[in-house]
Subunit: 336 residues, 4 copies
C-alpha cells in the first residue's frame, strides 16, 4: 500500500496515521523524494483503506499487490519523465539515443565522439571512467580525471553525460561531472550503492543483472526510489544463456513486460545484449519495435583500437546508419 502524504501534513498527523496503519500489522517505510512524500506500508491484513484515505494529511492511497511498490504501474499509471535540463528528456513516447565509447580514453577520443554525436543530433553520451572489468589487470578507466575531462568537453558541446558508478564512495566526487549515473549489471543488486544513489537528485540508469529477473530489477529500482530518488531509467542488457554465438541473449520480452509492470522508462543496450558489432543494428531496431523508450550503444572512431570491448562497438558509419534507422523505426512504431 502506498499512501501519498500532503505536503502540509503535521508531525502529529503523521504519527497518528502511522499508528493507525501499524495497528493493522503493516510495516511502514517513510519515503521523501524530490517528487513527494509517501508512506509505503507492507502487510497482508484486509481492512477498509478508506479509513486511511480519510485520515488528515493523506492526499491519496493505493493498494499495490506487487512486491515492488513505488516503481509499480499499479500505483502510478502516468509514465515517469526524466528531465535532464535543456530540452533533453527520457520518457515513454519518445526515443532516447545514448552513444559513446566503452571507456573514456583521451581528449582527442572524446572530442571526436562528441563531434560525431553533434553531427547526428544525439544528446547524451556514454563513456566509462570507472570500468568494472572481470580481470584486475585489464584497463579500468581513467577515473575521476577522465570523467572531468569527458564532462568538460561534452557539456561545452551541450551534450549530457552518463557514466558508470561502481562505488558509493565515488558518488560525491562524480556528482558535479555527470548527468546520469549508470549502475552496471554486476552492481544491479549492490544494495548499498543503490541506497546511496537514492540520496542524490540526478537520474540513475539501472541495468538488469546477468541472470536477474525482472522482479529483481524492479526491486533494485525500488531501493533507489524508496531512498529518495524518483529519477530512474531501467535498462535491459541481455541475460546469460548457454548459447556460445553471442556474449548475452538480449531479452526483448522484457520490454513489453517492464513497460506494463512499471511507470519507469525502459531503454535497451544492444551492444552488450548481443556483443557482436554487426548484429547490433538489427537487435537495436528490434528493441525499438518492441517498445523500448531508447537505446544505449557503443561507438568509437576505430573500434578495433578501443581500449576495451571493441568487439561490440560500432564505427561512425555504422553508428550514423543505426541512429538514422532507429529514428525511422521509432516514427514508424508511433504511426502504427
Amino acid at each position: 500500500m502506498i499512501i501519498t502524504l500532503s505536503s502540509d501534513i503535521t508531525p502529529e498527523q503523521l504519527q497518528s496515521l502511522s499508528a493507525l496503519i501499524g495497528s493493522f500489522g503493516y510495516k511502514l517505510t517513510e519515503v521523501k523524494t524530490q517528487g513527494g512524500r509517501y508512506l509505503v506500508a507492507v502487510g497482508s491484513a484486509e481492512f477498509d483503506i478508506r479509513l486511511v484515505g480519510k485520515a488528515p494529511g493523506v492526499s491519496d492511497v493505493h493498494r499495490v499487490s506487487d512486491a515492488y511498490k513505488l516503481v509499480s504501474r499499479k500505483w502510478r499509471v502516468t509514465p515517469t519523465v526524466i528531465d535532464l535540463g535543456g530540452e533533453t528528456h527520457v520518457h515513454e513516447g519518445d526515443l532516447t539515443l545514448i552513444a559513446g565509447p566503452c571507456a573514456i580514453e583521451s581528449e582527442e577520443q572524446v572530442r571526436s565522439v562528441v563531434s560525431h554525436l553533434k553531427r547526428n543530433g544525439v544528446a547524451i553520451m556514454r563513456g566509462g571512467a570507472f570500468k568494472p572489468r572481470t580481470s584486475p589487470y585489464a584497463f579500468r578507466g581513467l577515473g575521476l580525471e577522465g570523467l572531468k575531462m569527458f564532462h568538460s568537453i561534452a557539456s561545452q558541446a551541450g551534450i549530457k553525460v552518463i557514466s558508470e558508478v561502481v562505488s558509493p564512495g565515488h558518488i560525491a566526487e562524480m556528482y558535479p561531472y555527470i548527468d546520469i549515473f549508470q549502475v552496471g549489471a554486476r552492481n544491479s543488486q549492490n544494495f548499498d550503492l543503490l541506497g546511496e544513489l537514492g540520496k542524490v537528485d540526478k537520474p540513475v540508469l539501472l541495468k538488469r543483472a546477468m541472470a536477474g529477473t525482472l522482479e529483481e530489477l524492479l526491486q533494485s529500482a525500488e531501493y533507489i526510489f524508496s531512498s529518495g530518488n524518483e529519477k530512474l531509467i531501467l535498462c535491459e542488457r541481455g541475460v546469460r544463456t548457454s548459447e556460445p554465438s553471442y556474449r548475452n541473449a538480449l531479452d526483448l520480452n522484457a520490454i513489453p513486460a517492464l513497460k506494463e509492470k512499471s511507470h519507469l522508462p525502459v531503454i535497451v543496450d544492444p551492444s552488450h545484449g548481443v556483443g557482436v558489432r554487426r548484429w547490433v543494428e538489427p537487435v537495436a531496431l528490434a528493441a525499438i519495435m518492441a517498445g523500448a523508450d531508447g537505446i544505449i550503444f557503443e561507438v568509437h572512431k576505430h573500434p578495433e583500437e578501443a581500449l576495451s570491448d571493441g568487439a561490440q562497438t560500432l564505427n561512425y558509419l555504422q553508428s550514423e546508419r543505426l541512429i538514422r534507422r532507429a529514428r525511422a523505426a521509432f516514427q514508424f512504431r508511433r504511426g502504427l
Copy 2:
C-alpha cells in the same frame, strides 16, 4: 568440404573421386536431393582442392569450415526459396505469415480460422493434429482424422497447411494432407525423425530445442538436408531462462546470427517465444525488424476456450492488427 557432382557423373568417376578424397583421410557422405547430388567430405588434412575441382564429374567444390556443411552460407550464398505451389513461397526478402490454432479442434473451428485467414490474406495455416504435450493426460489432438479434415477445408480455400509431426511412423500417412511438416522443440534433436523427413519432398519447418544452441539447430537441419530434403525452414521459438514472467525468452539475437550462418529462411514463433497473449505483437514486430523472414503465431476465435495453450493465443481482432502491422513493419524494414 562440399563437392557438387554433375548430373551425368558415371559410377566409375564417382568411385575414383571418392578414392581420391578418401586418400586424404576424409570421411565421405553421398547426398542426393531433389536439388542436386553432393559429396560431403569431413576431415582436416590440408591439400590442394583444385585436384578435386578438376576431377571428371565434379561441377563445383567448396571448403566449409563450419561443423554443418550443406546448410551453411559459406557454401551456398544465395538464399533458399521454398516453393509451396500456387504463389506461396518462403524465402529471404519476403514475409511469410503463418497463423492458426494451437490444436485442430473441430470443423467449425477450422472453417472459422480459414475465413479469418482468407479475409486477411494469410496463405498458410498452422494447426496441431498430433500434439506433443508434457502430460499424457492432456488433450493430444484429433490425430490423422483431424488432419484430413483440416487439410480438406483449408486446401479448398487455397490455404496451405503446416502441422507438427511427432513420429517417423506418421510421415507417410500425414503426407497427402500436409504442405509443411513441422518439427517441434522437443523433437529438434530426434535424429531418427529428421532422417526420415529427409526422404520426403515436402518442406520441413524445424524449431530450435528448449535449450538448443544455434549450431545444434543447424546440425539438425543438416540431418534432413543430408538425408535428401533441401526444403528447410528454421524457426526460433524462445529458450529457457530463469525468468518467471514468461514461458520462454525469445532470442532475437538468433535472427541475424542464423541469417548469416545459413542460407535457409528463418521464421519466428512469438506465441511460444513469450507465452503471454498481450506481449505477442510487440515481440513479433521486433522479430520482423531483426530480419525474420516470417512469423508463425497462434490464433483462435475464443482463445480462452481453446483446448490447449490459450494463454498465448490471439483472438481475431488481435490477429488482424498483428497481420496488418507485421506487413507494415516488413515494408518499413525493406525500405531502410
Copy 3:
C-alpha cells in the same frame, strides 16, 4: 486420482465406475500394465472419494495432487524394484553400477569391457549401437548388428545389456537383444517413443532433458507407465548452464528431490554430467552420497582412441577405482 482395479472387475462394473467418476467432471485414462490395472482420473471437483472406494471392482483409491500420478510417491510409497532376472535388481536401498563404452565398436572391444566388468563384479553393461549424434557426419554406431554382437557376448558372460533406443521403429528389432532400453536426453520428451516403450515388458532408463525440469522428467515417465510399462528408472545427467568449464552441470539437488517425488529408482550419469574424465569420480561419489540408487558411467580400454566421446570416458584403472570407491561410499551412506 488413481483407482486401483481388482483383477476380477467385470466390464459392467468398470463401465458404471467410469460413469460415476465421469459424472464429477473427471477425465479418465484406463491403464493396464504387467503390475496391475488402474484408472487415472484427472479433474478438480471435490467429492467424497469413499463413493469410489466402495464401488464394486475397486481395490483402492488415492488422491494424487501432483501433475504426474502413477509415478508419484504420493500414491505408491513403496519403492519400485526393477527385476532384471538372475540376481540383478535396480531399486532404492541398493547400488546399481552400470558401465561400458559410449559406443559399441568391435567384438574385441566388447570382450575386453565384459572382462573388465566381470573382474569387478559389475552386472550391467552400457554400450550404444544407435548413437544420437549432433552431427550427421559423426559415427552413429554399428546399429542392430552391433547390438546383437554386444548382447551375445555380454549375455554369455551373465551380464545384462542396456542400450539407447532412438526410434519407435527400432523397439521390436532391438527387443531380443536388450535388457534395459535407454532413452537419451534428446528424446526425453519424444512422447511417441515413450508411448511405444510403454507397450514392452522390459525396463526403461529415462534421462532428463538438456534443460528439462524434474516435473517434465516425471511426466515423461508417466507417459511410459500409463502406456503399460511400470519398469522405469530415472536418470539425472546434468543440465545446461553458462559455465564453460564443463559440458553440463550435474544437478545433484535432483537426487533427494526425485526420491521424494517418485517411487522410481534414480541413477546418475556422471560421465555426461561433468564431461571431463578426471572429475567423473568425485561427482559420482557425491551422487551416491546424495542418495542415488546407482551410477552409469563410460569406460573404455583406451579412452583416447574411443570412436566417440572419449573425453569423459574412464580407463580400466580409473574405472576399477571408481567401482571400489562407489561401493564403499554406498556402504558408508547406508551405515549413517
Copy 4:
C-alpha cells in the same frame, strides 16, 4: 607471469626489472601482501624467462597461462592455509564447518546458537548483520550493533565469527568484530568492495555470483589477492537454472574444477545451494564427497520463526545430525 620478489630487493633493482619486463611489451602490476611481494606481468610475447629469473632481487618466476594468476594452482601448488588463530584453520585436507542463522536477531538467539555450536565442536559461526535483501522493505539486519553483540558473545565462547560485508564503507567499522569477511553472490563482482578487502589482513570468503562462471569467481579472488590479501576462501552456493523445485542448483562439478584450478580452499553452501531444508543434508554430504574443504549452513532454534530465509534453515536436531555425518563423510573420504 608471476615474479616473486626477494624481500631485500632494492628500488633500483625493481626499477630495472620492471624496465626489462616492460621491454617485452608486458603490463606490470606490483603486488604486496602480508605473504610476499610479487610482480604480475600480463602479455603474450615469447621470451626467455631465465633472463628474468637471473635478475637481481628476483626469487622466483613462473609463467601462468590462466587469465587469473596469483590464485592459480599453476603458480602455487601448495594449498593455501587460512589461520584464524587459536587452532582454527581452513585448508585443503581438513573439514571446516561453519553454521549459524541467516541473520543475527537477538542476544538470546546468538547465545542459543553459540551453545549449540559449542556442544557440537563447531568453531566458526555465521550470522548476517548487514543483509542484502531483494526487497528494500525486508528485514535488513541489526547492523553494526548486532555484529558487536554477535562477536562479543561468540568470541567469549571461543567461536570465530563470519559475517557478510556489503559496502566498502563498512569494512573499517566491522573489522574489530569479525574474523572472516563474507562477500555474497550479489557482490561477487563488486570490484570496488573486493579491492578494499584486499587491504585488510583478515580472511575473506568469496561466493560465486548467481550465474557466475568459475573463471569470474577466480578473477574476483584475484582482485582481492592482487590488492594485498592472500587469505581467501572460495564458496560455491548454487547457480540459477530454469528448475522450479529449488531456489538454485548446487553445482558440485565446481568442486573438483576449482580445486584443480586454484590453491585456495573451497567450501560449499548447501543452504542457499538447494534452498529446501530437508534436502540440505544430502547435498551437503555430497559436497564433502566431491572434495569440498568445508560447508557453511544455516541453523536456527526455530527455523520457522527466523526473521529471514527460514525455509532453508536447519533446526538443532537436523544440524547435529548433519555435523556428525559431515565429519564421518570427511573421514570416509580421507580414508579412500
